[in-house]
Subunit: 189 residues, 2 copies
DNA sequence: AATAAAACGGACTGCTCACTCCGCTTCATG
DNA sequence: CATGAAGCGGAGTGAGCAGTCCGTTTTATT
């Protein structure tokens, strides 16, 4: 029980774990969360046992994928925060989030299912809310977004826009108009 | 080939069919479309064979329930059409549809799934679009709703509002603001 | 009341899916 | 290299579900 007698992790194990996450990201995005895990293992060119050794339950795999997506979301948020005009930043953020959801059916479903409230994803949820809050607060202070919305609303409202493929930009524009304070006029497009 | 030799349908058969539809309406509304058909048969106090004799597949049962819901929807629409002010009629219609969706998870899911495009429900869909079109057209002519939306958009947009329990009124208000033509002011609440 | 058609219920079938078991392979280490 | 532990794949297991079969009961009719 002396010094660290831990071996270096095997190269193939590391490679397979990465393949699994990549496959899961792709398959969940394309087919939604209801696909069989076997499809993911097949896509990763790996046995199902290897999948379950890395992710003991299907939910664990979903968590890993959502975490990856949330990181993308945070990047979208950070990029939006660099925009000087608070209204434009807000708009860019919503468009970014919306496009992520349009492309990723799994992410969309996860946000609407009970999964998002599971303890395993609480950190992710907090991160999403924090970045949304920053961008929203700036826009509200600048008077370009109504005051009676919070960051929790953003996910639901944007999902709406993302729910019809090919129409999400139009829906988002309608939503943005609705989010303006009464009397404020639309930005010049 | 002579006169009508058709017997009168049996009383118990009629009764059971009604019980099944009632049970299905309730269970789909509460639990969504993913519940086992056995749960519906149990609620109706009927064997599963009786269920499948009336509705050969689960989808057939869903169709029957959706049809019932669409009839409620048409009533909501007709009531809204009686309102003189086109803007108020539109608003009342959206609120009515939204409340229906909030209370009926099955209906909500059906609208978002591939089911709604199945041939068995085409009639229903047409009916929904027709009533939406009437109310929408009046509101657009009166200049209280932007011209670049159609009746197909209404379902998606309203579903958005219905997606968070306890917040649908607030979301609907935001949506209604977004649906106003640029420059039009909100109605006095 | 007698009868036969119609309807009934619930055990059963076949399928899919999440998850496990175990004999075999591959890697890190001396 | 030799070796044994870590990792591997895929057949197997059990649960849950849509849909079927069939012996029994209920109904309308004479």
């Amino acid at each position: 029980m002396g010094a660290s007698t831990t071996r270096r992790p095997r190269a193939d194990a590391l490679r397979n774990r990465k393949r699994l996450i990549d496959a899961a990201v792709a398959v969940f995005a394309e087919q939604g969360l209801d696909v069989a895990v076997a499809a993911i293992a097949r896509r990763a060119e790996v046995g199902t046992a290897t999948l379950f050794r890395n992710f003991p339950t299907k939910d664990d795999l979903i968590y890993a994928v959502i975490e990856a997506r949330v990181n993308e979301l945070l990047e979208v948020g950070e990029r939006a925060l660099e925009v000087e005009d608070p209204g434009a930043a807000f708009e860019q953020f919503l468009f970014g989030v919306c496009e992520l959801q349009v492309r990723d059916r799994g992410f969309f479903e996860a946000i609407h299912s009970r999964l998002i409230d599971e303890p395993g994803l609480m950190e992710c949820k907090k991160g999403m809310l924090a970045i949304g809050l920053q961008i929203l607060a700036r826009a509200q202070e600048a008077g370009v977004v109504r005051a009676d919305v919070g960051p929790e609303d953003l996910g639901f409202l944007v999902s709406a826009a993302a729910s019809r493929e090919g129409h999400h930009e139009r829906y988002l524009r309608i939503l943005l108009d609705g989010l303006r304070p009464a009397g404020a006029s639309a930005l010049p497009s």
